[in-house]
Symmetry: C2
């Protein structure tokens, strides 16, 4: 397995693979790899000749008061896990390699970026769209693998790839969860033991939402009220948002008809966690 | 020579060329081809295995009061010229093929897009950057050819390609001019005979600028005053801007030191023309 830090080197290798007709699978990450990432990597490994994993904590997607500095970084452990999974290249450029001085270009996806997480993290999805565009141009993958846990991110990147006619396919891989249902996230390691225990309520709330819809409830407002009440009963929780939206345009749906996305962001102490579930009315 | 209207068909053909290792040259145009375009095409033909010319009058780069509707369109004549130059593919998608309903993604280049033409055509360079990104993703060229006549556009696209790590090279081809020095432009055909005659002053003014700098003048303000005076003496002219800027960041330079770009936009009657020259102090 190669570890590449230079954009030029990565792009040249990817270009040579392209010319040889190799199918390349790509898993973009911010490192601090867990079983969720590994399930993306395994999916990529299964279906491609070459697998590239990027590890890059992208400064442009963090707000000034967010956790960019303390975001967990552990390249040697990440590289060990990638090697074990049969990854061909770990691409881990520096921030200054990706954003040299005088950097000026950004990719914006209108509407979809301003709701849910975007309402509370202005500029976040602009940073995500921009870095993913850069990574796609460097790695030139045939298939890129994203996790369903970051549902809004996956929807936005799919839309971006379609709108900009990027010559690749996006595959969304189901969320991996701990035994108590908590979605795996690099940020889970911020949690105290008490917060960790309480955090299981997020998935319980989403499952309750699923059950309510399955039982015939269609009124989003009523469902949201019940889910929020359940979460509030759990200690150390503070709900940032809990919404039921159309999975295409992310607009709130008043009555559930067809597919709907229940998405939430909840603080456990100082740690912000997100999760979601797709339901069908 | 193939004429392709479908994005999917163009992208598949380009992908198959990529896998065979063919070098592809690309000339993006809005059609109404003239000798300026043909010199780009010849440059591409000389240095690539395959040459693709796109013909697409891009709605997102026109303002609501601009000439999108009346912009000259003549596909059969353009195709004839391309065939004569040995072009392999003319790619001419429809507007709805390029921008389906619910289109949401745009590429923005900060600062560079807000000055010179950008000050008077808000959103113009966002439209240009977006359509060029789409075309690059569809055509996947090794080299794209742009004209120096649209200097700001060329600078912005070069910056965008560098910032977003697009896997290609941009080549800028010198401006082609009529005998009296008027830069070739599809919009020249809007001019009346009297306007056409008067328009030669644009190039004369730029040449005067070049001479003044060569003679040792360094004060941009004084040079600009002289050039504007010359243009104003010519009938039917109305200057929109005439500036001397740094060719990297497009910021005005007060004293010329090293390379500088003298750029102008001037109305001849209702027709807006642009031109520029690089000088060295």
């Amino acid at each position: 397995m190669k570890i590449i830090r230079s954009i030029k080197e990565m792009q040249q290798l990817a270009g040579s693979w392209k010319r040889r007709g190799y199918r390349v699978g790509f898993v973009p990450t911010m490192g601090a790899l867990h079983e969720g990432h590994l399930s993306l990597i395994r999916q990529a490994r299964k279906n491609n000749k070459k697998v590239i994993v990027s590890i890059f904590v992208n400064p442009t997607q963090f707000g000034p008061k967010e956790d960019f500095k303390k975001y967990p970084r552990n390249l040697s452990e990440d590289a060990r896990l990638c090697r074990k999974e049969g990854v061909d290249v770990v691409f881990c450029p520096s921030a200054v390699e990706m954003y040299p001085s005088n950097y000026k270009t950004y990719v914006e996806i209108e509407d979809l970026s301003a709701v849910l997480c975007g309402e509370f993290r202005p500029g976040h999805f602009r940073g995500v769209a921009t870095v993913v565009t850069k990574l796609f141009n460097i790695v030139q993958p045939d298939i890129a693998y994203l996790g369903q846990k970051d549902a809004q991110q996956a929807i936005i990147i799919k839309r971006m790839a379609r709108d900009l006619n990027m010559p690749l396919r996006i595959e969304i891989v189901p969320t991996r969860r701990d035994r108590d249902g908590l979605a795996l996230s690099s940020r889970n390691r911020y949690l105290t033991a008490a917060e960790r225990k309480s955090a299981a309520v997020l998935n319980r709330a989403l499952n309750l939402g699923h059950k309510l819809v399955a039982d015939g409830n269609r009124n989003s407002r009523k469902i949201i009220t019940k889910l929020k009440a359940l979460i509030r009963k759990s200690p150390r929780t503070r709900i940032q948002y809990l919404e039921i939206v159309d999975p295409q345009d992310l607009r709130p749906v008043a009555r559930i008809k067809g597919q709907a996305l229940i998405a939430l962001a909840v603080y456990l102490g100082k740690t912000r966690l997100i999760d979601n579930i797709i339901v069908r009315g």
